[in-house]
Every structure is written in structure tokens, then in C-alpha cells.
Amino acid sequence: MMTRTRYFVVASLLVLGVGVGTGLVAYYVGFPAGAFTRGDGPDELRYIPRDAMVVAYADVADVMASEVRQKLHKAIPFQENGQREFQNQTGINIETDIDHLVACLNPDPSTNNKPGVGMVIARGRFDEVKIEALMREHGAHVEDYKGKRLVVSDVGDHPTSFALSFMEPGLVAVGNTNLVRTAVDLHQGGDNPQSGLASVTRNEELMTIVKSLETGNVWAVGRFDALASRAKLPQGFAERLPAITWFSVSGHVNGGLRGVIRAEARDEEAANNLRDVVRGFMALGKLQAGSNPQVQLMLQSLELGGKDKTVALSFVVPAEVFDAVTTMIPKHLPEKPQIEKQPGH
């Protein structure tokens, strides 16, 4: 065999070997999330367990830099103190350190008495040592979970109710310990449906809605019926709730606030009923608006849309409304009383 033919055979077998090996690793172990994919929505969705009932996103940096935020910031002076206190305690400056965050609410398999358990995954710049020291000061302990430090805080009767883990530099998961552990699993192993480990990106219904929300810098999407069934609502009230399956809220905060509230009804009849209810509220709102030009402006922006099973209500809160709000707030609010630190709490 000629040398170049031998090289060709070796190269070809090498490509096949590497490919099959990689595939086998993916099949049996799973891939680190993002190894080959870049799906819809923020990357942090890959660490949210698939059974999430609500997923929310906020582009904190964008919101913090928005005109609305600047106006409110000037109008509400005590926030500065609260923000500084939060920074001293956690080492996190909300205004500059967090870029964006993703939050979720998942069902708690251990009980039906709670609406669910939550987790927040934030990307930004964090002082890991300071945050860990603060949590340990408050009684938390450090566990090793698959090579990651898990700072677990025992709260009440639930021994593993709250934890924090820096999954990678600049990425922190905070929330229910089981959820944080799953987030670490997903971060390290990626989606591996064969082993029962899957992220919310595998939920096609939810991801289709997420894709439609990406124009907003804040949004939330959730399974309304799942939430309602776990919310322990009064019997009569629960029966009167509209038959909604999915809901979503998307907003873009900048000079003002522009947003859409969308609901997916069980069928077209339920969607029509819901539209009638919303129309009724809109009419009532217009009656109540009186001569307030800002509120009238806002109500005029309301637009009811959607087709088939979808009901959508878009709205715009113009900058003038925020101007009016800021003028209503007294210039010198009393500072919030400082809560004395108690060791162990």
C-alpha cells in the first residue's frame, strides 16, 4: 500500500473513531451543555430542569441602563442605601455586576402544599469568596457536588432547601438545593434524555413561546393550569378561572415600557370568552381614566389581538407616565430602618 493511501485510510478511520467515540460519550454520559448547540433563548435555559412551570428572564444590565430606571432611580433616593447594603452583604452590585438572569419555578416532588420551588441563574461578575463567606456566616455549610462547591443553607424543616453554586466563573445558580444540583448536572453533562436528565430546552411548547418573546428585555412564560392546580385557590374562584394553558408576559423597558401579555386558551371558545372579559376590563378602565392624560394615553395603547386559541394584549406605558409617577413621589423619603445583624440568622 502506498504511503499516502495508508495515510488516507488512517485519517478516515480516525475521523470515524473520533466521531463514534464522541457520539457514544454523548449517548451514555451526555455533553456539556452548549458543546454543539446554540438554541433559542438565553444559554442559561440549558441548566433549567425540563419540568419548569414558569421560566422568566431579565436583561438586568439593559433594564438598569434604561431611561425608566434612571428616572425612578432619581425619584427614589433610599434605593441607593439598600443597594449599597446588598452590595456589602453579597459583594454584588446589582447595577453593574449582573448582566442577565433566568429564573424558574418547578414543581416540588416532595409536597403538593407549595406552588413549587425556584431557582435563579445569574450571569455577571461576582465576588465568590465574599458571597460564600457571607452565607457561611449565616449558618450555611459547603458541600462538594460533582467537583463543584455547593453552599447549602439549611432553612427550617427542610434540610436542603436553599443552595448556591458557582457553576463557572461569572455564572451563579441560587435556589432550591435539588434544583441547583440538577443545574450542575445539566451544566456538566448536558441534556441526556436516556438518563432522565433534560433541560427546559427540550420542552418544545415552552421553547416555541420563548422564541416569540425574545424581543423583550424582560419576559416570563408559564404553564397556567399547572400553577393554578398547585395554588390552593378557593373552590369557587378556581372554577371561574379561564381555561388557560400557557401564559406569557414580555416587556421592553427603555424610554417607557412596551409589552405584550399573551394567553393560550384550552380551545377557541375559551379564547373568545377570555377576549370578552378583557374587553370588559378595558372599557371599565377607559371609564375610570377620567381626565388623566397619561392614563388615557396608556389605555389608548391597549390593543387586544391574537387568533384561534391565543389571546394577546399589547400595551405601552409611555415615558410621560413614569414622569408623572416620579413627580408624585416625595423628594425626601425617610430611610429604611437598618435591621441589626443577628449572628446565625
Partner: protein, 278 residues
């Protein structure tokens, strides 16, 4: 005094011919065509990947975002099964002996003290090795580039890739054997091969009846795990009249097709008198 020489066995001789022919097959002008043929799907996969990376909406079919596994399945059907595998079979299979005849080098091989059928078998094995080592890496690259787009999972789709590998290797072997027979028996094998692969096979698959059992595609399609694309009226008709034999039947039929056609081709080579045109 030296030991008396023993005649080499059929397999031993075929292995020597395989060694000789593999290099010739790989570094011939036909390789450029082969490279283009197999580079096309990889380039297409790169383009799809770029579209998926640059645009949030990804690659869409009828306004809906297509999943990576579905696109990969479509590429396997349209590019590999319906085009690349039959084309490779036709071009390489028909030329196994015909090229040696055209180049007037067949005499050198036939005057060796080896069975004539070993020449055919060795060349056929070289064809199988050459095409398999080119087609499978191409499919592998396409798989990793395409499957993970549109929220697809490499882990979930991986078992189907292994089945695709097996199916393509079996398909290449079967088509190669059929066209090797055509190449040894018929005067203008390339034209006949093209008519068989792109005339006879698609045509009889469109209609109900037993004629489709006289094709390789009928048995090969039964081994495909991906959904048949409905990209045209022809595909739709194929879907309507699609009879799928069981996997065991298909494997047995393809093994019989490969074995019988290869044996017939070997017999033809053993008995045919090749007259070299001066």
C-alpha cells in the same frame, strides 16, 4: 533446492489485488468527482450550521423551524440514499474490470498465476473499502454539523447514525456488486448502470406490484430509520405505494443480491474472452 510453489488462494490473491487497487482507485481522476460528490453535503451542512448560528430563527421549512435530526434524515434520504450511493455504485462498480480493459492492462492481471475471479473480488473489496472510508466520514461530519441545530440532540440521534452507517455500507456493497456484474457482462456498462439506478429503480418504486423487488433501493429503504421526505409529487407517490419489507427480509435479500451478482460477475470474468481493441 527450493520448495515447490503453491498456487495462491482466492482470498489471498484478492487481498493482493485489493492492496494494489485501493491506491489506484483513491488517486485516480475519479477521486475528484468523488470528492465533489461527498464534499457537497458537508458544505451544505456547514451552510445550514452558519444559518442556524447567525439567525435566531434558524433553518425553516414551511415557516416552521426544522429540527436538526429531521434535516439530517432528509439529507440521508435525498443526498445519500437516492443519489450518492447509487452513483458511486454505478461509476466504480461498472469500471472494476472495464477500466482495465480500456487501459489494455487486463492482460497483466490475467497472466498472473491467480484465479481471474480473484481480480474481480480484490477490486470489488477495494471499491467497498474506498467508498465506505469516504462516505461514512462525510456522513459523520454532516451529522455533527446538522443534528445539533434547531434544538436537536446528538445523544438522542446517535443510535440512528450507527444504523445509517450500517445501511450505507450495505447499500454500497450491494450496488457495487450489481454494477460489477453489469461491468463484466455488458458492452456499455455505464449507460446501462445509470439507466438502472436513475430510471428503472425510481420508476418501479412508484407503482404497486412485485417489480420493485427487482431493485436494490426497495430493500435499502427498509433499513432507513428516518422519515421519508415528501419533497415532491414523486416522493408523495413513493410514500403512497411504499411497501416496506421487514429488516430481516431486507438484509437477507441484500446479502443474496450481493453474493449472487458477485458470483455471476466472477464467473463472467473467468469465462469471458476479453478482446483488447488495437
Amino acid at each position: 533446492m527450493s520448495a515447490p510453489r503453491t498456487a495462491p488462494t482466492l482470498l489471498g490473491s484478492a487481498a493482493r489485488i485489493l492492496d494494489l487497487s485501493l491506491g489506484q482507485m483513491l488517486w485516480s481522476r475519479r477521486s475528484i468527482f468523488l470528492g465533489l460528490l461527498l464534499g457537497g453535503p458537508v458544505l451544505l451542512a456547514i451552510a445550514l450550521r452558519v444559518v442556524d448560528t447567525l439567525y435566531r430563527s434558524g433553518f425553516q421549512i414551511n415557516g416552521a423551524r426544522a429540527g436538526g435530526a429531521a434535516i439530517f434524515g432528509m439529507m440521508i434520504w435525498l443526498l445519500y440514499i437516492r443519489f450518492i450511493v447509487p452513483v458511486l455504485g454505478v461509476f466504480y462498480g461498472t469500471s472494476l474490470i472495464a477500466d482495465e480493459v480500456d487501459d489494455k492492462t487486463i492482460t497483466y492481471l490475467f497472466t498472473r498465476p491467480i484465479p481471474r475471479s480473484a481480480v474481480l473480488l480484490g477490486k470489488y473489496l477495494a471499491y467497498v473499502v474506498c467508498t465506505t472510508l469516504l462516505v461514512l466520514p462525510s456522513v459523520m461530519l454532516v451529522f455533527f454539523l446538522v443534528v445539533s441545530t434547531g434544538g436537536g440532540s446528538v445523544a438522542a440521534a446517535f443510535p440512528s447514525l450507527l444504523r445509517d452507517f450500517a445501511m450505507l455500507a450495505i447499500g454500497l456493497a450491494a450496488y457495487g456488486a450489481v454494477f460489477a456484474l453489469v461491468g463484466t457482462r455488458i458492452k456499455r456498462p455505464l449507460i446501462v448502470g445509470l439507466v438502472f439506478a436513475f430510471g428503472w429503480e425510481p420508476a418501479v418504486l412508484l407503482f404497486p406490484g412485485y417489480l420493485k423487488r427487482l431493485t436494490v433501493a426497495y430493500y435499502m429503504q427498509a433499513l432507513v430509520t428516518h422519515e421519508m421526505p415528501q419533497d415532491s409529487a414523486v416522493s408523495l407517490l413513493m410514500q403512497v405505494f411504499r411497501e416496506v419489507p421487514s429488516v430481516a427480509t431486507s438484509l437477507l435479500a441484500l446479502a443474496v443480491i450481493t453474493g449472487v451478482t458477485l458470483w455471476l460477475a466472477g464467473r463472467a470474468v473467468e469465462h469471458k474472452e476479453y478482446v483488447l481493441e488495437q
